[in-house]
Symmetry: C2
Subunit: 997 residues, 2 copies
């Protein structure tokens, strides 16, 4: 009987031991070539199908893909053989599946996770795009996934490796953020073909990426480029999606293929090892939505492994085994060698000489803007929920999730099918509806006067004010606009309210303020789908407290008194305020811009809209989308005829864009608050150049579309600014809205660059800003969404703002990027903000202004059918979370209530080193100052960037690199804190879980 | 503790209880419309891919299908939910998979089988074709599968239902054979569209098929036509092969589809019930190679069943549940109603007015002949193995299996891809190699003289003697031909041996026999691929004992003495022997044929070769293959433009075939043994009309090909015999080589027939014979393989003998039937045997002769390099199993050794009722007479036709039909036996397991 007891004890012990992460790794045989065979499925959270269609597996007419089945079948496959391993990446899918599972299945999955057989990799809600995303949302989407994993699986569920196998170029900021989340490494699939050519032959496919110019080693991330993007080695696909032949191991059959299959595998391993630095190599086995019938994959992989390793008896040096990216990374780490380093990024990406993936920087400009707008609402909603102690985090989940999904590399990137783009927008819209409910519940507290009964708040958004439409307030007598400032700095800005009548507007003090009325242009009135009867816009200057709101009371004027607005035409138009003078000649040409305070003058040789003709497919030869170009490009252009300009690719037919018109018309009109030049280029392109009172920058609102295609030519529209700046081939673009990288025309920092696409090859993502400069002048453009931009001539900046194309570019989406609405080409309206100053002084502007644009004051509207007196008696009209404004170089990135007395807060220093002589310095913040109206901080703990691990528990692998590290060591200061006063170094983001008493 | 013991006991009890077959059936709810949902996979044992390719799942470029995965995944799916059921049909696949499984999996599968969750249906090695197969091989292929099932699963593994869901028309004999195997019912998928139109509207989709005109109730088989062939109801496919949308049951999603899916399902059930007679209906859920990822199918089916039945709470009358064909059949039986009956067959099959599946009766004539030849060898090998007590049954398995596979409805039918046809031939060839080894081991016993040492036997086959090639004997001095007579009647026939020299031939008595030498024609010499240097054929008349052999010793003549053969040209040619006179005019026209003994004269208006132009596809509109035509055909022909003539379909462009030549050449030459007229029609068609000495029939050997296609026209070649018989629209064709059915031109016995294809619509399968007659004359043609035949005019018979087509007919094979060899169109050579007599006397000829042709004497060759004396000293030269010839109307169908002292024997009465005034009588046989040289019968037991169940244990369901049963009741006589003397009624096959002492 003793024997039985002992046995039982053993079994229990084994079951209760967790052995995951690096502890669960097979590190191979140091005398062999170790092949880490990594089964995986790449599951886009929307692309050719919607997220739901992919999850359920519907619409197989579009694509065969059903994630529910993948996860169902993986459970069975892992259960069959404990050697098998699988990784899973996208929590958007996994969490949904998890919620449908029985306890039995969940326990089985936990067993797999706790034994390293199922490993979560990356673990974000999606695999986010890196070119068109903003760091705020990248962090959020990763945090959402890691939070789910932490809650359900704890320590063993926490990923150690980033997995960006599909995105189309890689940003440095992404790597930096992953490092700050505690990731030990990053693998991705796509690198530029010229870059790869060099790396392939110099065994430099793997490196230490120094991912921040400011953060030092905390931003370092070991980074590897996978050998075949993320696909299965040729001829070894056992997945039902385009499979190769299985392993046929019945020796009696004529089709018996084991010797040939083993031979090919060993060859493949040897060939791959030529390109990699160690005796460990990785082979991904998988692809888009593979492993739906995992049993079939693993049955053959089991055999392959068995027969390949059996050849060791005959002297083969190949040792293959199931592994994971984590274990491969760990094996590389254990090799204990020095790796090369990398300090720039992986943009732009090209897979062949005429395949530059620079079109998607601009594709679907409406979705790109809606994504920004949705985030604005999300962050405001989180703040309002927290500050009002509403504890409605669950009701914000839909928007959090929709935003996380929207970060996907076929979402905000614009590279999805039309109906999928519509679905993303629908998800955001549903999320916003939920958020609005939270906003109302929060405001019902925050707007209520202390000691008074709770007010009834029924606020609504007017998301179409950009086309001067807000139907609920049309013709009403009274309404209130409440503006929430989500930043920790006060803000002065202007609101434009489309109205049918004139209104008297009272500020929070009851003072009637000066407002202007401006007629709505015919251009706006003609925008397809606009339903408003508003004929005027009311211009209101507002001042908002830090992290707080002000309400403005609108009451219809008893008698219409619309001032006659003087409108000049065909005369020179000069816009001038306290800071800026802008001259536009009588033909509508922007001529110069003068910073009056600094006396800096910028002359424009040219400013206007142009179009590139997007390459069409002339030949019948339409190649399949999975063409890979990694080696050898004979110069002949015709072989790339198939490459059209499309959702991903920007391939202009000629390198000189065509002006959209030969002449333009000009209208000029001025009020006390804003001076405007309306320049009409043709019947589908115009811009309004606006200079607001007391504003230092110039606003350009452009309206483009419907882009005509009657000539059967696809068109890619740019807005170009040609100045007399001697920019010496250099230009500067931001990385995910944060650090800025220098770009040099026709040049790559790490390899000899052969120019094949003089225009497209110089485009870079512009998430928030692009500038050029010379010693004393800097011309900066801020954008309201992600766009592609370039400087193709010294002094010139061009930004692509809209695209309408007639051919698919064969990268998988299978649809031409030809957006329409109301049966016409889509009209896009957006803004650029122009700033002229010295380089030394420009940072202060673009850093602060870009954060303010990204987290704008949120205007919510409410009808009120009683007098102002009644309103002011019942409602608080202004309020701030903060006692004082916090330092200008600190930004409140996240303020989220986790539980009743627990909050997640992210603050950041958002200036780079040496950028500004004041604001680039380390800065102190007392966390308690944020909690003025919430309570006394009881305890707080600093977390990794994603907010799911205590920073003190983060223990990243150490890597050696062959170069001296040039950044500063922030690690020590990161941990320095006195009471709740925290120091922030340049570009440092710090994340805290804060409990109040 | 007691409690625990009881519990354990209970568990054991449950596990050891078998509840399968009818006992495991859910019979639904009598107040509801019960929907039997039957998940199944239709797994062709070769079609677009080979058997091996289908099993392993290789060559997915051709078709996605991998049976190993289907069975793997079914095990998991059935394990997940005990409500789920699955059926499996093809033992060629299942047995292979079974052999690869672990004991754990096998036990699990046994549990499924013993609980009715996995049910074997049909259980043959394949799902055999019904039009081009011979009953001998149909029985064999079913027996092989049922033997496997019996051995592995016992009683619960035995199928109760036939499942011929895919074959292209259905033979009456197939139903009769299934009934005799003990099957309770048969379901199939394809019936003629006009037939269906009537049945759909009269609720007569299900019937009692009286499947023999001779056997009475033992041949009755309940037969049902499935509602949608065998496919899943539209929009409800959850299989990864072309799936519809899954059940999306998350109510929060915009795609939530449960109400709509449930509504559609209920509608589908109601619509189907309009066409069926009871409140039980069947819905097959499956298709070709479906359920590879069964988890996905069942996950959705589970949901569908749940949500549909949930509607019963809201008054729905639809009750759906997992079921099987067996349970559906049982439910119908329990309804206890009377069913209509059917006495004819389901040929020919058409799915639309121009889609007659009558081409495949002839497609791949070479494969069709090779299959017959292979069976001949198989049966001979079994006999030799048994009679020699060699116990080498395992070594015959390869040929047994290859023959079983060849019965598949895309094998001998000729409707497979070319490389698949090649694979079938390869399998047969490998099987023959193994059989030859058994033959040699058997002959080494049987040829050894008693008391002498065992002789060394190294015999070989000369399978190419049909093109006068036998390379091993070329130029040799001496060789021996041993001929085995596999019938229980003596045989006299002729052997043609291709030789390079003249030989002296001794019969088994040592007597030098008279032989003739005939020069080999240039036609034969020019056949592509022929490698022989033989210039002559040696004609030998042989006489063989019953079930025994005779050897003929060939010794090269010292001096070549080739007689000058007189060859006449352009003269009338009269062939005449003791029985027959045949007149051919100087232009080569067959003019008349006279039965000299009966003085019956048949005049030919015409005899020769013609070609139909096979319809090509003129329009670009190539429809997908799964077009179903069940209702409503507007008369317009153009809508069927897509329908080409192809592997399945015979669709001539015009109804009048073109003669292959306007003139012909004639050579006439006669020897003592054979008189020959060689008629050359053109450079690719000829025939030799041969009259052998003492033979009552006329042999026509035709040679066709390469069919020219330089004119881009597909051609279908017929051989036509136009006589002066007043056949009054009637003609007669056999059903699988057994009973003969009357056909009436442009008429169907059970429905009003609209003529749309005057030629193709009158074609029927000719497996062994076709005849026309009038009161006193009958003109009978026997064939050497299955062909299509018709009588399109009174007095005329045409037989299609070869086809070469340039377009695919869109029925799935995806390849034009354009057979080539040696880079030219395939040449086909074959034989017709013509017989002229009174109708009363013709049966004796065609019954006996057709069995003799089907089981011909098998010639094996052996080189011998010593004298005849030495040969005759060492080798026995003739021997018979039988003491005496058995009655002429009894045929030995099977003689197989199961174990050392156990044999399986099938004997049959092969005359129909009232066919012959002598031989149509019941006949007695003493089984012991067959065991002359084996031993004394110890015990014997009569079995079902398949040989796997004792007949006394067969207990078929009883069915009522609305008509009087007109057959005779054979049941009683079937069981009558006295000692080992058994009575046989007309067309009765009896199967015995016999143990010898």
């Amino acid at each position: 009987m003793n024997f039985y007891f002992i046995l039982t004890f053993c079994v229990i012990t084994i079951q209760s031991t967790k052995k995951c992460g690096y502890d669960a790794c097979n590190l191979g045989d140091s005398t062999k070539l170790n092949v880490h065979l990594v089964p995986h499925s790449h599951d886009d959270v929307g692309f050719v199908k919607t997220l739901d269609e992919y999850y359920y597996g519907s619409r197989t007419d579009l694509q065969h893909a059903g994630v529910q089945y993948i996860l169902d079948s993986i459970v069975l496959a892992l259960d069959e053989n404990s050697d098998r391993r699988f990784i899973y990446v996208e929590m958007a899918f996994f969490s949904r599946w998890w919620n449908e599972q029985s306890e039995i299945v969940r326990n089985k999955v936990k067993e797999f996770v706790n034994s390293g057989r199922l490993e979560f990799i990356s673990g974000g809600w999606c695999m986010n795009d890196e070119a068109t995303t903003h760091y705020n949302s990248i962090i959020d989407q990763h945090s959402l996934g890691l939070e789910f994993l932490n809650e359900q699986f704890g320590e063993c569920g926490r990923p150690k490796v980033g997995w960006q196998i599909d995105p189309f170029g890689h940003s440095r900021e992404q790597a930096s953020l992953l490092a700050q989340m505690g990731f030990d490494g990053l693998f991705f699939g796509r690198a530029d073909y010229q870059d790869l050519q060099k790396r392939n032959t110099t065994k430099s496919m793997e490196m230490v990426w120094k991912a921040s110019a400011n953060l030092g080693q905390q931003s370092w991330l070991f980074t590897g480029i996978l050998p075949r993007r993320y696909s299965t080695p040729p001829t070894f696909s056992f997945d039902f999606i385009a499979p190769d032949d299985p392993i046929i191991d019945d020796v009696n059959l004529p089709d018996y293929n084991v010797p040939q299959r083993v031979r090919t595998f060993i060859e493949t391993a040897h060939n791959e090892s030529l390109e990699y630095a160690t005796n460990h190599i990785i082979m991904t086995f998988g692809g888009d939505f593979q492993y739906e019938n995992a049993l079939a994959n693993y049955k053959n992989l089991d055999k392959l492994i068995q027969y390949v390793n059996a050849q060791q008896m005959n002297g083969s040096d190949v040792n293959v085994f199931y592994s994971t990216p984590t274990c491969y990374l760990y094996a590389l780490n254990k090799v204990n060698r020095s790796w090369i380093s990398k300090t720039d990024d992986f943009f732009p990406h090209a897979h062949h000489p005429h395949g530059f993936w620079t079109g998607f920087y601009t594709s679907r400009p409406a979705l790109k803007r809606f994504e920004r707008y949705s985030n604005n609402i999300l962050q405001v909603t989180r703040q309002l929920n927290a500050f009002s102690n509403s504890q409605l985090r669950n009701q914000i989940f839909n928007l959090s999730e929709a935003m996380a999904v929207a970060q996907h590399h076929d979402a905000v990137s614009g590279t999805e099918r039309q109906h999928v783009a519509d679905d993303y927008a629908l998800r955001l819209s549903i999320g916003i509806d939920g958020a609005l409910n939270v906003i109302n519940q929060a405001y019902s507290k925050l707007l209520s006067k202390e000691g008074h009964s709770r007010v009834n708040v029924q606020q609504f958004l007017c998301p179409l004010t950009n086309i001067s439409e807000c139907l609920p307030i049309e013709n009403v007598e009274r309404f209130v606009v409440t503006l929430w400032n989500p930043t920790i700095h006060p803000v002065m800005d202007y609101l434009r309210v489309p109205v049918t009548n004139s209104y008297k507007v009272r500020d929070p003090n009851g003072t009637v303020v000066n407002v202007d009325l401006i007629p709505i242009s015919n251009i706006t009135k003609d925008i397809p789908g606009r339903m408003s009867n508003a004929t005027m816009e009311l211009i209101l200057r507002y001042n908002l407290p830090t992290l707080g709101f002000s309400s403005y009371f609108f009451e219809r004027n008893e008698e219409e008194k619309v001032e006659d607005l003087k409108i000049t035409k065909k005369e020179m138009c000069i816009l001038q305020n306290q800071y800026l003078r802008v001259e536009i000649d009588e033909q509508g040409n922007l001529q110069q811009m003068i910073n009056l305070q600094k006396n800096i003058n910028l002359t424009f040789a040219n400013h206007g809209f142009y179009w590139y003709e997007g390459k069409a497919i002339f030949s019948e030869r339409r190649l399949k989308f999975s063409i890979r170009w990694t080696k050898g490009y004979p110069g002949n252009n015709s072989q790339f005829d198939f490459q059209a300009s499309g959702a991903y690719i920007f391939r202009p037919v000629t390198q000189n864009p065509t002006p959209v018109s030969t002449k333009r018309s000009l209208k000029c009109f001025k009020t006390s608050l804003v001076q405007t030049a309306l320049i009409t280029f043709n019947d589908w392109i115009s811009e309004e150049i606006r200079l607001y009172d007391e504003k230092e920058d110039l606003e350009i609102e452009w309206t483009v579309g419907p882009i005509p295609i009657e000539d059967n030519l696809g068109k890619e529209i740019i807005l170009r600014y040609d100045t007399n700046l001697a920019s010496q081939s250099k230009y500067y673009t931001d990385s995910n809205g944060r650090e800025v990288l220098q770009r040099i025309r026709n040049y790559r920092p790490t390899y000899n660059y052969t120019i094949t696409e003089p225009v497209s090859g110089n485009y870079y993502p512009v998430n928030s800003r692009i500038w050029i400069n010379e010693t004393n002048r800097q011309f900066t453009i801020l954008t309201d969404r992600s766009q592609g931009g370039a400087s193709l001539l010294d002094g010139s900046i061009e930004v692509m703002i809209h695209r309408r194309l007639l051919y698919d570019d064969h990268m998988g989406v299978g649809e031409a990027l030809n957006e329409t609405a109301f049966d016409r080409g889509l009209v896009i309206r957006g803004k650029h903000f122009l700033y002229l100053d010295s380089p030394q002084s420009s940072s202060l502007y673009h850093r602060a202004r870009s954060q303010q644009l990204f987290l704008s004051p949120l205007a919510t509207f409410q009808l009120f059918n009683s007098s102002y007196t009644n309103y002011s008696n019942g409602y608080g009209q202004t309020w701030s979370m903060l006692q004082e404004s916090l330092p200008l170089n600190i930004h409140l990135l996240t303020f989220d209530q986790l539980k009743e007395k627990e909050f997640l807060v992210r603050l950041e220093h958002y200036f780079e080193l040496n950028e500004d002589h004041i604001y680039s310095n380390p800065t102190l913040i007392d966390l308690q100052s944020l909690f003025k109206s919430i309570g006394i901080i009881d305890q707080f703990v600093e977390l990794t960037l994603d907010g799911n691990l205590e920073l003190s528990k983060m223990d990243r692998l150490h890597w050696f690199t062959d170069e001296q590290h040039s950044g500063i060591e922030n690690r020590k200061s990161l941990l320095a804190k006195q009471n709740s006063t925290i120091i922030f170094n340049p570009m440092q983001i710090r994340t805290f879980r804060i409990a109040i008493a």
